[in-house]
């Protein structure tokens, strides 16, 4: 990831396009300590990786922003978008709503059996 950022920085003229959001290194920017992709991290190293993340409120906000922009750049801000974004949105919303109901709602009372 660092190589990619360096490569993009070497190419002058990168605007803050959604595709390259966050790819421009400015002085005063704080990169995370471990810049590998999550899929490249071994399972035993995951707790270590989690501890290095930025758990401040602003950091959490940036995490949400990165998630949102990455997801939308992949499925919505493309040349010929189809319905994948909306289908995934519906599924995620349904899951989130069901989880909210299960954790804090009345669906636990609608269970058919008491002991599983």
């Amino acid at each position: 990831m660092a190589e990619k950022i360096a490569e993009t920085v070497a190419r002058n003229g990168i605007a803050l396009h959604p595709k390259y959001y966050g790819a421009k290194l400015e002085p005063g920017m704080k990169l995370p300590g471990d810049t590998r992709l999550f899929r490249d991290i071994k399972l035993c190293e995951v707790p270590q990786w989690i501890m290095k993340r930025n758990f401040t409120p602003l950091g959490m906000w940036f995490w949400v922003k990165r998630l949102k922009w990455g997801w939308q750049s992949k499925y919505l801000h493309v040349r010929a978008p189809k319905g994948h974004y909306y289908a995934q949105l519906a599924v995620c919303a349904s899951i989130a709503f069901y989880l909210s109901e299960y954790i804090d709602g009345g669906i636990k009372h609608e269970r058919h059996r008491k002991y599983h």
Partner: protein
């Protein structure tokens, strides 16, 4: 130029009348250069430098990437998850995992079977059915809504190119036509030169003839004059002679001639 865009919502622009009326020739080389340097869409956007940019990096944003539909399966499950499980479980690994996972959820009643679940299932089935039946048409509709404007803008450029090509063809035709009149004009010119020369020669001959006639007249006049003079002279001499001839002189002359005649045979 803007007046050419007769853009109505939902319908692509096509000035078919002008385009179809005439089969244009291939693009001339000068226009090919223009077409190559000013394409409808910049392909090499990475190396494109905005001409006259006030700061580095200003310019058109890179074009958004093409969407790869093989990235997700059934619209919601990323293909990466299938590929992740493929080495261990094969092609059906993810499906088995999902089936087992949902079985676990239902059996432990993390997912409670309510009427809402039934509604969700029927909704899913209806949407899938609709997608199968009318999905392609709806997707084409949205894509056409997106591309109509782009097609109209491209059409403006292609219309202008066609117009320019037709103008070039017309100019070439006119040149060809005027070229053939060149030959006709040459022939007429040659004809005219010949005619002029003929006329000149005719007039020259006329002049020569007139002059010759005048001179002949003078010659004839002189001849007549000399003839008259000669005749007159002869007559005068004859008259004079006749006047001198008297009978007496005749006799003497006659006697002299006889004497001469008598003297001749003696020689």
């Amino acid at each position: 130029m803007l007046s050419r865009i007769l853009f109505k919502a939902g319908r692509p622009v096509s000035s078919c009348v002008r385009v179809a009326a005439r089969m244009s020739s291939s693009t001339p080389s000068t226009l090919q250069v223009v077409d190559k340097n000013y394409p409808a869409r910049v392909q090499d956007w990475e190396n494109f430098k905005m001409p006259g940019a006030p700061y580095e990096g200003m310019g058109p944003l890179p074009p958004v990437p093409d969407f790869d539909e093989n990235l997700v399966r059934h619209y919601v499950i990323p293909e990466y998850w299938f590929d992740f499980l493929y080495p261990r479980t094969g092609a059906t690994g993810m499906y088995t995992l999902m089936a087992g996972f949902s079985a676990m959820l239902v059996s432990k009643e993390f997912f409670v079977y309510t009427p809402d679940a039934w509604y969700a299932a029927t909704l899913l089935l209806t949407v899938a059915g609709l997608n199968k039946v009318a999905g392609k048409d709806i997707r084409n509709l949205f894509d056409n809504m997106r591309t109509d404007e782009l097609k109209a803008l491209d059409q403006v450029k292609s219309d202008q190119m066609e117009h320019i090509k037709q103008t070039v063809d017309e100019i070439k035709l006119e040149q060809w036509r005027s070229g053939s009149t060149e030959m006709i004009n040459d022939a007429l010119k040659n004809n005219l030169a010949m005619m002029l020369e003929t006329e000149y020669l005719n007039r020259q001959a006329t002049v020569v003839e007139a002059v010759k006639r005048k001179l002949d007249y003078q010659v004839e006049v002189q001849k007549v004059d000399s003839q008259l003079a000669h005749g007159h002279m002869v007559k005068w001499i004859e008259e004079k002679v006749m006047n001198t001839i008297t009978p007496a002189s005749q006799k003497t002359t006659l006697a002299a001639c006889i004497a001469q005649l008598n003297a001749m045979p003696a020689k």
